[in-house]
Symmetry: C2
Subunit: 156 residues, 2 copies
DNA sequence: ATGCAGTTGCAAATCATTTGCAAGAAGAGG
DNA sequence: CCTCTTCTTGCAAATGATTTGCAACTGCAT
C-alpha cells in the first residue's frame, strides 16, 4: 500500500497553501484543447498548480478572488468542468458535501476522509485494485471507473 | 466473493415488482422508536418490504402514490430520513443521480452499478474489507464507514 | 488595429432535498 | 368511542450546489 499525501487543508478553511511547483502544464493543455487562455482561466489553473489539498468550487473561488476579485463563481464552475472534461483534474463527490477537486496526473489512488477535519488522505492498494478487477470479471462487467472512500477518525 | 443479488429494476422504471416477503419488521421498529404509525408510513414501509431494487425517492413516491395518491413527496423524503436514522434502510448516493435506498439488515456489501441500465449488483469481498481495515490501521485511523462502488458495463 | 467567435459576470433557472406552517390524524386517557 | 394533545402531513416556499440564458466583453487570428 502506498500513501501519496496527507491531507493538507480543508475545503472550508480559506487558508494558505505553501507554494509547491507541480508538473502539470494547464496552460498548454488549454491551448491544445483550442480554448482561449483568458484571465480567469490563467488565475484558476495558476492556483491549481499550487494546490496540494482538495478544495471545493467555493474555496477555489475564494482563492481566485484574492488574486482577481472580478472572477465569478460561475466561471469557477465552468472552468472546473472544462478541466475535468480535458482530464486535467478529478472531481470527487465525497459524502455530504460539494464536489472537491484535485489535479489529475499522479498515479490513481483512493481516499480516506477524516470526518472531523475534512482532510483527505490519498492511498493506493494494488491488491484492492486487483480484487476489484477480479470481482468485475466474475460478474461479467468491464469496470469504467470506481470509487473507494474510507471515512474515519484519527485513532487515539 | 459473494454475490448477493443481481440488480432488479431501475430507479426510473415505474415498473412492477414481484411480491417478495422480507424479514424486516418496519412497523415494529417505528413503534419501538416511539413514532406514530401513520397511513403514509404504513404504505411506504409496506412497499419497501416488497422491494428488491434500489429505488430513489421519486420512484418510491410513484409506487406509494399508486397505493395512496394523497401521499406527498415531502413525506417520502421525511420517511426515508426517519428510517435511515433508525438504521432500517441505507441511503446510497451513486454518481450523478439522486439518493437511492435499500433495506438494511442483510450482510454488508458493496455495489457494482451498470452504467447503461442503472441496475445495481451487490457483492461482498472479505478480502477487500480486510485490506481496507489494514490500510486504515496503517494510516492511524478508525474507519466509521466506507463506500466502494464499481461503475461498469456488461462485457460483450 | 479589427472583427468575431469564444468567454464572462450576473441573474435567473434547475435539481434534489428540506422546512415553515396551518390543517389533519394517531393514540393515550378517560 | 370521544377528547385532547401532539406528532404528522401536504403544500408551497426555501435551500444549497451547480448550471444556464443573455448581453457585454475580450482573446487572438488576420
Amino acid at each position: 500500500m502506498t500513501i501519496f499525501a496527507t491531507g493538507v487543508g480543508v475545503p472550508h478553511n480559506g487558508g494558505m497553501t505553501e507554494a509547491v511547483i507541480h508538473k502539470r502544464d494547464y496552460e498548454g493543455e488549454l491551448k491544445r484543447a483550442g480554448v482561449r487562455l483568458t484571465r480567469p482561466r490563467r488565475v484558476i489553473v495558476g492556483l491549481l498548480t499550487q494546490t496540494e489539498d482538495h478544495p471545493d468550487a467555493l474555496e477555489i473561488f475564494r482563492r481566485a478572488s484574492a488574486i482577481d476579485p472580478s472572477i465569478s463563481l460561475s466561471t469557477v464552475y465552468r472552468t472546473m468542468k472544462l478541466l475535468e472534461g480535458l482530464g486535467a483534474i478529478h472531481r470527487h463527490a465525497f459524502e455530504g458535501g460539494p464536489s472537491r477537486f484535485e489535479q489529475a496526473g499522479g498515479d490513481h489512488h483512493d481516499h480516506l476522509i477524516d470526518l472531523d477535519t475534512g482532510d483527505v488522505i490519498e492511498f493506493k492498494s494494488e491488491r484492492i485494485e486487483a480484487l476489484q478487477a477480479e470481482i468485475a470479471e466474475r460478474l461479467g462487467y468491464d469496470i469504467v471507473h470506481h470509487r473507494l472512500e474510507l471515512y474515519g477518525r484519527k485513532r487515539g
